[in-house]
């Protein structure tokens, strides 16, 4: 596999060089370059070091593996493909993503999955292995967000104000979530057998990637959160 040393390279040169390489590629010595692999499709890219903000923005089918932490706005508006982060992820991960998958081994910052959306067969998926910061799934309009809380014990697995403005999609949170305050326009209930079957289909690949035992992860209650209606804010200001 071709490898590019990107130490001190600016983000434009980096992406130019990446586009010139055919097939899979490893980036070595990454430190903060933004927009890596923006809009790219049909290839695997491995990143060693810290990728900068907006990693995989508008991603269109490429598979990105990050062996460290990632910064803010990973997968901004991505359409297809996969971003696998072996560490933690910064704020606003999956901002307005409309397809593809983001798998995070560690924790996510604030506003993970903000304004995720879905259309027909395009159903984005984000799985957070650790815990998530405040405003998880803010304005979520579609897609699936899963938080497993595997790295925290006896601590809330999401921060304050989850699902603020959520009006579509679905969220699975591992545990009974009795200590979490959800807004009025969503319903949080314990996952039933149907929900758990659905969950299994999402978690299969995640467990394989990070070496988790699926049964062990499923050996816990899950809370499912969905909005009450497709348009919960219709009468927020006036009755119409």
């Amino acid at each position: 596999m071709k490898s590019i040393k990107v130490t001190h390279m600016n983000h434009q040169t980096l992406n130019d060089q990446l586009r010139q390489v055919e097939g899979d590629c490893i980036l070595e010595g990454c430190c903060g370059q933004r927009f890596i692999a923006a809009g790219m499709s049909e290839r695997a890219i491995t990143i060693n070091g810290i990728p900068g903000n907006a990693l995989g923005a508008y991603l269109n089918g490429a598979v990105i593996t990050v062996n460290a932490n990632a910064q803010d706005a990973v997968g901004d508006t991505m359409n297809e493909g996969k971003i696998i982060v072996h560490g933690n992820i910064g704020d606003a991960a999956g901002y307005a993503m409309r397809g593809g998958k983001i798998y995070i081994k560690g924790n996510a910052g604030y506003r993970a999955g903000i304004h995720m959306k879905a259309y027909k067969e395009k159903i984005p998926l984000m799985i957070i292995g650790g815990s998530a910061g405040s405003f998880l799934g803010e304005y979520q309009a579609g897609g699936i967000i899963i938080v497993l809380g595997l790295l925290t014990q006896n601590k809330r697995i999401v921060g304050n104000f989850p699902c603020t403005g959520m009006h579509g999609g679905k969220m699975f949170l591992r545990g009974e979530c009795l200590d979490i305050n959800f807004p009025r326009q969503v319903t949080a209930k314990l996952a039933d057998d149907n929900d758990r079957d659905e969950l299994k289909t999402y978690l299969d690949e995640y467990c394989l990637l990070f070496g988790y035992d699926l049964e062990e992860i499923l050996n816990a209650p899950f809370t499912v959160v969905i909005p009450d209606s497709k348009n919960p804010y219709q009468q927020m200001y006036v009755a119409n």
Binding site: C31, G32, G52, Q71, Y110, G133, G159
Partner: protein, 364 residues
Amino acid sequence: MKIEGQIRIPSGCAIAAVISKDGKRFSGEMITNAMKPMHDRSNGLGGGFASYGIYPDYQEFYALHLFFDERATRKNCEVFLKERFEIVKSEIIPTRKIPAITDEPIIWRYFVAPLKSMLASMQLDEKEFVAQTVMKINTEMKGAYVFSSGKNMGTFKAVGFPEDVSRFYQLEEYEGYSWTAHGRYPTNTPGWWGGAHPFTLLDYSIVHNGEISSYDANRRFIEMFGYKCSLQTDTEVVTYILDYLIRVQGLTLQEAASVIAAPFWSTIEGKTSAEERQKLLYLRTIFSSLLITGPFSIILGFEDGLMALNDRLKLRSMVIGEKDDKVFIASEEAAIRAMAPDAENIWAPAGGEAVIISIKDGAY
């Protein structure tokens, strides 16, 4: 040319800091490296650094750093300073001529001690006297700006990218135990030298990434207490607010943080400790005009430590890490890796969660 205040500039910006908890001094090279991977967060219209521990030979004296528009302004200002201070040393701040930094003002520093007779006649303590003098120069003396006024610390700022500003001021020649840095991204008007960060008063310095929506409300309140917002950039008011809360009102850093990034009413209600609930309620009520709204991540520098704080909604990024005796703070993890590739315990504080790093007692 219009400056900020005449035209409003929302900023993007990058911030970073590094401190040795053991009080060990190190050059400005490390903090300069932090700003390189964050280059694109600035646009070359402002960069600056604050450093603590750089003037050990003059640590008893206030180090005043000043910009002057012309020689006559400097002469006038020196006459004024001599009426108020004993000046033990005055000199041009050494700079390096580089193409990236142009149109510099006249830049001087003065190591001074307030005249005892002045303190007695004005019935002021030293710090209040120095603070009032800074306000007086910045508002009344056209073309003169005090941009640094603490003891054994100094601010260095200019119009340019932060890494160039560092080369301009030869920061590799200075050794401090604590450094903060800022790269600016004003988007609507030209930046100017006085508008670059850090904003300092006495030994408090602030670097800020964000935009303060409550600026005018905050300004109107703080100006009742003798402060004058003369640099007309939103960040300036944060420095004065913290000086007022900590030095004048005697609040702890944590309490000051609970004023400017007060928790939401619902968060306060949810506190299990009645004592904590009451305290937060008290602070939010008494100092309601000092609540800072809008996005911010700030680093406050002071004599023996740093405080990092995000707005309570956490609309800006901030990451913290450590290695051996050093603690690192930056807008991006990449900046921390540029200072210490093997930094450990990287984490992001929550919105409104003050992170206070103190130097061990007497270690500096």
